[in-house]
């Protein structure tokens, strides 16, 4: 956007060596942007701590019970699990310069397809395979429409959203389909070393996502395509093929999330995962992913998801009426983002401008 924080950052991050000589100085040639993600994540950690503090203030009885606190953290993470997996895929798509509005619908479609009686008869492997295959397939359709059909991602995935919800309703006959599979249902209740399996799945997916983004050519090329598609093309990268893969990846994440949600709800329905697309996009952006592409981190997205999950949890604990919840949630989102913008340099700048440290920078 016009007045996005992006542009500003450039002007305000102060360089480490103010007056170093250019010749010797390579050092004064650049300004340090590497800490930017770190700063954002610290901001989000601050938000999480603040939420915790508020909870402890409202309900000292609960928060003084260590078991309860640990369990509550697990509840927060469990609730972040499915949307977190989707957000990992979404982060890739957005970094690659696109957007995927269809994730909620794809979860519903994958979930419904995986819980038809016919599919269930193939057992858990069949169900998981179906969910993942449906997700990838629909993702590939998205990718093909965008890369080869030249549709704007917003429109292509919006069309997919509508169509996939329709198809899911058609398949399920608009009924909630119960999962009779004990293995699938037990995923949500299993804990390994005290940590819910779903949380472990989230961490594994996020870990793989991190490796994929930061350590492989696929990830680095994703950044290149989102940051400068023309440069990527000139560097010989197959931009279209890569774009297909990005949406397929997002679809894969939806398939995984569908299984997780099915397990949690021991059922699936066409209306499931409503508005997950907005939540996932918001989590990614709050985590520092640039909506216009070319920049983003998996860790940030993860924090974004957890912040949203913690907010919901706090609301339940504070037992706010929904309407108040919504008003407060809007405010928290704004504050969370503003908090990330506070940085050391601006504090020092403020101090300097008000003469508090004037003597120093002139040295």
């Amino acid at each position: 956007m016009s007045v996005s924080s992006e542009q500003k950052v450039e002007h305000e991050v102060a360089g480490p060596a103010p007056h170093a000589a250019p010749a010797a100085a390579g050092t004064s040639w650049w300004k340090d942007e590497a800490q930017e993600p770190l700063r954002r994540n610290l901001g989000l950690v601050g938000v999480l701590l603040a939420l915790f503090a508020i909870g402890a203030y409202i309900r000292p009885d609960l928060y003084s019970d260590a078991d309860w606190v640990v369990n509550n953290i697990m509840v927060i993470l469990t609730q972040a699990a499915a949307i977190g997996v989707v957000t990992v895929g979404m982060t890739f798509v957005i970094i690659g310069g696109g957007i995927d509005l269809s994730v909620g619908a794809l979860i519903a479609l994958s979930g419904v397809w995986a819980t038809t009686l016919a599919t269930q008869s193939f057992g858990p492997v069949g169900m998981i395979f179906t969910a993942v295959a449906v997700g990838i397939g629909a993702g590939l359709v998205n990718g093909a429409l965008i890369a080869y059909g030249r549709l704007v991602p917003f429109i292509a995935t919006l069309a997919m959203l509508v169509a996939a919800r329709g198809l899911a309703a058609q398949i399920s006959g608009k009924q909630t389909q119960i999962s009779a599979d004990q293995f699938i249902n037990s995923l949500a209740t299993t804990r390994i070393g005290g940590i819910p399996l779903l949380v472990i799945i989230l961490l594994v997916v996020a870990g793989l996502g991190w490796v994929l983004l930061n350590r492989t050519t696929f990830g680095r090329r994703t950044v290149a395509i989102g940051g400068n598609a023309e440069a990527a093309r000139l560097a010989g990268i197959n931009v279209r093929g890569h774009t297909m893969l990005l949406y397929a990846l997002s679809g894969l994440c939806c398939g995984i999330a569908a299984i997780m949600l099915t397990s949690l709800a021991t059922s699936s329905q066409a209306a499931a995962a409503e508005l997950y697309e907005l939540d996932a996009i918001a989590a990614a952006i709050i985590g520092g992913t640039l909506l216009s592409g070319g920049r983003g981190t998996i860790v940030g997205s993860l924090f974004g998801v957890i912040v949203f999950s913690a907010i919901t949890n706090l609301f339940a604990i504070a037992n706010l009426p929904t309407e108040v919840q919504n008003m407060v949630k809007g405010a928290i989102i704004v504050v969370a983002v503003l908090l990330q913008q506070v940085r050391f340099s601006s504090i020092t700048q403020f101090a300097r401008r008000h003469g508090l440290t004037r003597a120093k920078p002139q040295t």
């Binding site: 609960l62 309860w68 509840v75 609730q79 919800r165 309703a169 006959g173 608009k174 009924q175 909630t176 119960i178 249902n185 949500a188 949600l261 949690l264 709800a265 021991t266 059922s267 329905q269 066409a270 209306a271 409503e274 508005l275 919901t312 949890n313 609301f315 339940a316 604990i317 037992n319 706010l320 009426p321 929904t322 919840q325």
Partner: protein, 322 residues
């Protein structure tokens, strides 16, 4: 469906001395959860529950808001369990999706009263009290069928404006409607699904009227969205047909009584069931039965009959309108 927020007194039952069940018992805590209300009926459910609980001195009422979907409601209920209520009254987003919660709470020794949206698993609840969605469709179908037969309409054109199509209750209502009409040899000519909101009702009704230039009868599932439906009908100057509503809002009952619109009847799906659920939950927690029944405990299932409100009986039902 009005600008007032308090439930009508008739939707709660005060502690009246003549009723032995009303006598104070041991103090109990009732946990309550219903989906976020963005619509009159759900709002009335919550308000009624609150008001009914307030009528008992021995009841502590703990409400948790259930947020926007089943997942959020599950989260809210988890925190509710931590508070160790004596009984939980719960209107789930989706009965099947929250079945697992019901089982968990029952296993933890907390009786669960399912309000309106059934759990598939009988072990997941102590009491189920609900309206009859299928029966509601049946009632609407019979009213329309009888009325058209009486008018001797041979092959009538019947429209249906459903609620949110992704909800199972909508499917049940439509199924009942279809089945009842079939007994007269009638069928639905066009069915539109709105979103339980007045503006969506208006839009779908406008399109329905467009698709059917001549209509004999319409069933609209929900009186709240019916405000928009009626607006569309008035705007189109259409009056060749009659309409049946659903749920039984005060506005709808008033309109029926006034008889100035095409709305001639509505089939109830009363949010008063929330009040009853609280009363019965109290009895369950106190280990008491219903004084009019022989059994020493509250039964396991109560299904409200869907009643048909017409001009003739509107005055008696007006106090139940929400």
């Amino acid at each position: 469906t009005s600008n007032e927020q308090t439930p009508t007194p008739a939707q709660t039952k005060g502690a009246d001395d003549t009723n032995p069940n009303a006598a104070a018992g041991k103090a109990v805590t009732i946990g309550f959860s219903a989906p976020a209300a963005d619509h009159g009926w759900i709002a009335a459910i919550t308000n009624n529950a609150k008001a009914q609980a307030g009528a008992y001195k021995d009841v502590t009422f703990k409400q948790v808001e259930a947020g926007k979907d089943a997942a959020a409601q599950r989260a809210a209920l988890d925190t509710l369990i931590a508070e160790k209520p004596d009984v939980i009254v719960l209107l789930p987003h989706d009965g099947k999706e929250l079945n697992a919660f019901g089982l968990k709470a029952m296993e933890a020794g907390i009786p669960v009263v399912n309000l309106d949206r059934a759990f598939p698993d009988a072990l997941a609840y102590r009491l189920q009290i609900k309206g009859d969605n299928y029966g509601m469709g049946v009632a609407a179908g019979h009213y329309i069928g009888k009325a058209l037969k009486a008018k001797n309409v041979a092959s009538p054109i019947i429209g249906e404006i459903a609620g949110m199509d992704e909800l199972e209750l909508t499917q049940e209502r439509s199924a009942g409607f279809k089945a009842a009409l079939a007994t007269y040899g009638f069928a639905v000519a066009n069915r539109r699904a709105a979103r339980f909101t007045a503006d969506s009702g208006q839009k779908e009704a406008q399109n329905l009227l467009q698709a059917l230039p001549k209509i004999d009868a319409v069933w609209n599932h929900d009186d709240d969205q019916g405000i928009g439906v009626l607006a569309a009908i008035t705007a189109a100057n259409r009056s060749e047909f009659f309409m049946v509503g659903g749920a039984g809002s005060k506005k709808a009952i008033e309109d029926i009584a006034a008889d100035k619109t095409v709305l001639k009847a509505t089939v109830t799906y009363s949010p008063s069931m929330a009040s009853s659920a609280i009363s019965l939950a109290r009895l369950i927690a106190q280990g008491r039965g219903m004084s009019d029944l022989v059994e020493l405990q509250v039964p396991k299932e109560v299904i409200l009959a869907s009643e048909t409100i017409t001009k003739e009986n509107a005055s008696t039902y007006l106090k139940l309108g929400f």
